[in-house]
């Protein structure tokens, strides 16, 4: 295998970025309301030139205020989940590790549901109330991360298999709490909760939240990328990595925290979208190899592509209704996972 040079890295990422761009343009065109490619191109150019007020078309609002934010959210969620999945798989040296196996999403779900209950009982302005569920989800995710992290400690060290088991047990405990909450809640709370659990990108998020998410992604993904070479060495084993000069405890802490923050942020705005964090890293590894300097950016782009495609399908298959994007990723993801598994065995 040829060594990874900066040029090759950029070239491959460039290709993925072009694919993402094409997917985004297609996603902008597709939807319940028909939009012509010409009109779309004209409007996009106007936006880039800062003349968006010139867009007088009926669908200006539909494309720019409804579809584009949703697509951007999809890009963010897909990239975050995939980077988190790649990181967890490398860190725990376990191909089944993904953000959800570690209980983070269940914790976020409990937080979100409690947020939904609180929201209905407090008389708050819509702007404030809208932030309670994402905030609750993020808080739930953070607390779960802390709990699982302490569960996974053994003699002051993080033990990968203990961490994984701790995550699974925590997830199942939290799922029981979710069932309890869902069965004791009154009608309208429940509706929001069910919707949330299925994963959904259809709710436009406040702009300030989008900025916060972009910033969080920048910091967390950047932190993970600084350890990319260390993660490569970690694949050989923790002792081996340590002997090669990797500060294993530090890498573990940084990657675990950053990946968990990515998951928490993604889950807080989208609900639980499964399979992206598990599957995209595997596919990218098959295509580009296991070098994390390549794998991490490829996963980010690949995850973004996957979620935007899944969400576009979710929007259009049963139009005018929406399918939950989580259902789409699971429907496409599970068979794909089985295929990859069988292919590797034969």
């Amino acid at each position: 295998m040829r060594p990874l040079t900066l040029g090759r890295l950029l070239f491959r990422c460039g290709i993925l970025a072009v694919i993402l761009f094409v997917v985004v343009v297609i996603a902008l065109k597709m939807g319940a309301v028909q939009v012509s490619l010409y009109g779309l191109g004209r409007d996009l150019i106007r936006v880039l030139l800062g003349q968006s007020s010139a867009i007088s078309t009926d669908y200006g609002m539909i494309v720019l205020d409804i579809r584009l934010p949703r697509i951007l959210l999809g890009i963010f969620v897909g990239a975050s989940l995939s980077v988190a999945g790649t990181s967890f798989q490398a860190l725990l040296r376990n191909p089944l590790a993904d953000p959800y196996v570690l209980g983070v999403s269940s914790g976020a779900a409990v937080g979100a549901i409690i947020g939904l209950i609180v929201e209905n009982h407090l008389a708050l302005s819509p702007e404030v109330a809208g932030l309670i569920t994402p905030f609750g989800a993020f808080l739930g995710a953070s607390l779960t991360i802390a709990a699982v992290y302490f569960l996974g400690r053994r003699d002051g060290h993080i033990d990968s298999s203990t961490l994984l088991l701790g995550g699974i047990i925590t997830a199942s405990f939290l799922n029981a709490i979710i069932m309890f909450l869902m069965n004791t809640l009154a009608g309208s709370n429940l509706r929001g909760a069910v919707f949330w659990l299925m994963g959904d990108l259809s709710t436009p998020q406040p702009r300030s939240l989008l900025y916060l998410l972009s910033f969080g992604f920048l910091v967390a993904a950047g932190a993970i990328y600084t350890t990319a070479s260390d993660l490569n060495l970690l694949l050989a084993g923790e002792k081996e990595a340590m002997h090669l000069g990797v500060d294993v405890p530090r890498v573990r802490l940084v990657v675990y925290l950053a990946a968990s923050i990515l998951t928490g942020l993604a889950v807080s705005v989208s609900g639980t979208i499964g399979y992206v964090g598990l599957l995209v890293p595997h596919v990218m590894r098959l295509i580009f190899g296991a070098d994390h300097r390549m794998l991490l950016p490829a996963s980010a782009l690949g995850g973004a592509i996957a979620v935007v495609i899944a969400d576009t399908l979710a929007r259009t298959i049963v139009a005018p209704s929406d399918l939950p994007v989580g259902a789409m990723t699971a429907m496409a993801g599970a068979p794909l996972f089985i295929y990859l598994l069988r292919r590797r065995l034969t």
Partner: protein
């Protein structure tokens, strides 16, 4: 500035982030453009969710996101102004022909925007708060209507909705008619003692309506009293408790009485249920599923139930005055799916009609 980002960051991941960042800037660049250029005359009202909302004085393009609201709009004779409703707005039949904007918990925002409504009507009890927020973000006026707990509140809510839509007179005559019919019914039932009933929403698990719901109030108005004491809206009942409380009547809400009868027979063969006097005596009432929606039609369902619970009071009247159309429909669907429509624990997307009130 973008240039400096690209020079400064050579790592691809940073480039990717820069891409997101620029993309996000791109979105924000067009944030503040005023989209609704020509605003018609508006006024500020407080909706039933307590929000202060600015709505047109006389809304001409209305979208309803709840079947109960759609029914109310038709009852007020304002259907010409209704430009869109949901997949679950099935009454009256004409409502099915209106342009659909998707489901109740997952309406399609694109379709809503494309219909250029000047007012979107939602209800606190079945729509999601997120939908309301999304409409706010898009600058589409919305008004949250009924979240009633009694039949009286349904009627006053109807009146309020009529006021909001600039049809106060129609609202007044409608609510007076409904109140008149209820008053006539009450005077008829004044002499009889109420029947103890179990309203069955769903049989497996057994789910009934709590005492604070408008359904429980509708039962009271029809000369019944729910044996359910729970304050939850949709309590799950244990069969033990039901056997202990021994209701006089079981009440089913269904669109087809024949299938309800079949379902009752199926229920009667189950071991525990035979312990109920009401089952042994075949004391069950089937009423229109209109009782599940907080709309004017609920008064018809109440009259219907009163007639079945207290047939002795209704011996002499000539023909049944007002039978809801759905009761006459051909029996083709089994009761189970019909009942499922009202099970709160099944409010998933696939059975979204479950959330329909």
């Amino acid at each position: 500035m973008h240039r400096s980002i690209f020079i400064f960051m050579t790592r691809p991941v940073a480039r990717l982030l820069a891409f997101f960042f620029v993309a996000t800037l791109g979105v924000s660049a067009q944030a503040n453009s005023p989209r609704l250029a020509s605003q018609p005359a508006t006024r500020e009202v407080v909706d039933e969710m307590g929000r202060s909302v600015r709505i047109p004085i006389s809304p001409a393009r209305i979208i309803s996101l709840a079947p109960s609201i759609t029914e109310t709009i038709y009852a007020l004779g304002l259907q010409d102004r209704l430009v869109g409703d949901t997949d679950f707005c099935d009454y009256p039949a004409d409502a099915q022909k209106k342009p659909k904007v998707g489901g109740i918990i997952n309406p399609n925002l694109e379709e809503i925007a494309a219909l250029r409504p000047d007012l979107v009507l939602v209800t606190k009890s079945i729509n999601r708060l997120d939908t309301v927020r999304a409409l706010d973000t898009l600058g589409i006026a919305s008004y949250s209507a009924t979240d009633p707990h009694t039949v009286a509140e349904i009627i006053s809510s109807t009146q309020k909705l009529a006021d909001v839509l600039g049809a106060s007179d129609a609202g007044k005559s409608l609510s007076e008619e409904l109140q008149g019919r209820l008053a006539a019914l009450q005077s008829k039932l004044a002499a009889v003692s109420p029947r103890r009933v179990l309203f069955i929403v769903w049989t497996e698990p057994l789910i009934s309506a709590g005492k604070d719901t408008f359904i429980a109030d509708a039962l009271r108005k029809a000369g019944g009293i729910s044996i359910v004491e729970a304050t939850q809206d949709w309590p799950q009942m244990s069969l033990e408790e039901v056997v202990h409380l021994q209701p006089d009547y079981l009440v089913f809400a269904a669109s087809h009485s024949e299938s309800a009868a079949r379902d009752f027979d199926a229920l009667a063969t189950r071991p525990g249920w035979r312990l109920l006097d009401a089952v042994r005596k075949r004391h069950f009432a089937v009423i229109s599923d209109a009782v599940n929606r907080p709309a004017p039609r609920i008064v018809s369902a109440i009259e219907e139930l009163a007639r079945q619970l207290h047939p002795e009071v209704f011996q002499d009247p000539p023909a049944p005055e007002k039978v809801p159309p759905s009761a006459n429909a051909a029996p083709s669907v089994s009761l189970r799916p019909a009942l499922s429509s009202y099970s709160p624990s099944n409010c998933s997307r696939s059975t979204e009609s479950s959330c329909v009130h």
